[in-house]
Symmetry: C2
């Protein structure tokens, strides 16, 4: 972050594209009061520098899971310590392939964080019970149902799969 | 999800737009072997039905925080139970306004989940120590540094602020 020189104009353009990536050069030029050629040049530079990585869509209500839960899995340390990494890797891979699992990350040597989304609470809890709590070699599973998203609320529509 | 009828063509279009929302109708038409008029009509419908909610950009490496951590905050139950909601609300609001806090959600009556991103590990830990662990009325704080994202890895570039 610190090596990147972004001025107010770059930031204004990035914010506009974040809110609507379909805005045309002309529309952006209008909104920020700078010539189209400037806007065009800046966007080109932002793309070349990799500051804009991708253009994507956020899925709306009909495809967005209504109920989310973060799940913290703690993997039990096996008698042969060396197997821990393999266990964590196996569970990470298994989780990633399950339908409705939106996000999976490793945390430290023995923990995994997952975000799961389903359309109703019962389905979500049943899924966790059947598919996650049943994974062997787990020492502990903490389920944190999301009751209200305050920041980053588009996360479900962004991560949802088609 | 169940009320929405999406066929293979809709899904193919959505997947293409997810991977690159700048694809033109002609390019999509080419990739999936259907007439441009069909693609145009389908995208129009997907937007009208709110299945495509927004078009956005994902920020790349230069603006993406390199180190992420999930933080689970448990708020202590006050003597006057009724104050718990107010405490949780206050902390949620405070967290959401802090720089580098990418995501904040409430979980149940007394827990808050946050995702924090900074450019180096020390900065991240110092930030948590100074700005989060110091919040009064907290009963417990669990910090889960993200060591590897396996699914949903664009999350930081999506949530990062400019």
């Amino acid at each position: 972050m610190s090596n990147i020189q972004l001025d107010d104009l770059d930031r204004a353009i990035l914010r506009l594209l974040k809110s609507d990536a379909r805005l045309t050069i002309a529309e952006i030029s209008n909104k920020i009061g700078k010539p189209e050629s400037t806007v065009h040049f800046r966007i080109k530079k932002l793309q070349e520098k990799g500051i804009i990585d991708k253009y994507t869509i956020i899925l709306g209500e009909p495809l967005k899971p209504k109920h989310l839960a973060f799940i913290i899995l703690e993997v039990g340390r096996p008698i042969i310590e060396d197997f821990l990494e393999r266990y964590v890797e196996y569970i990470t891979k298994t989780l990633s392939a399950l339908p409705g699992v939106l996000f999976v990350a490793k945390s430290g040597p023995d923990k995994i964080i997952a975000l799961v989304g389903k359309n109703d609470k019962e389905e979500l809890l049943k899924f966790i019970e059947d598919n996650i709590k049943s994974i062997p070699t787990l020492k502990n599973v903490v389920v944190l149902p999301v009751s209200e998203i305050r920041k980053g609320e588009d996360i479900a529509g962004f991560l949802a799969e088609v």
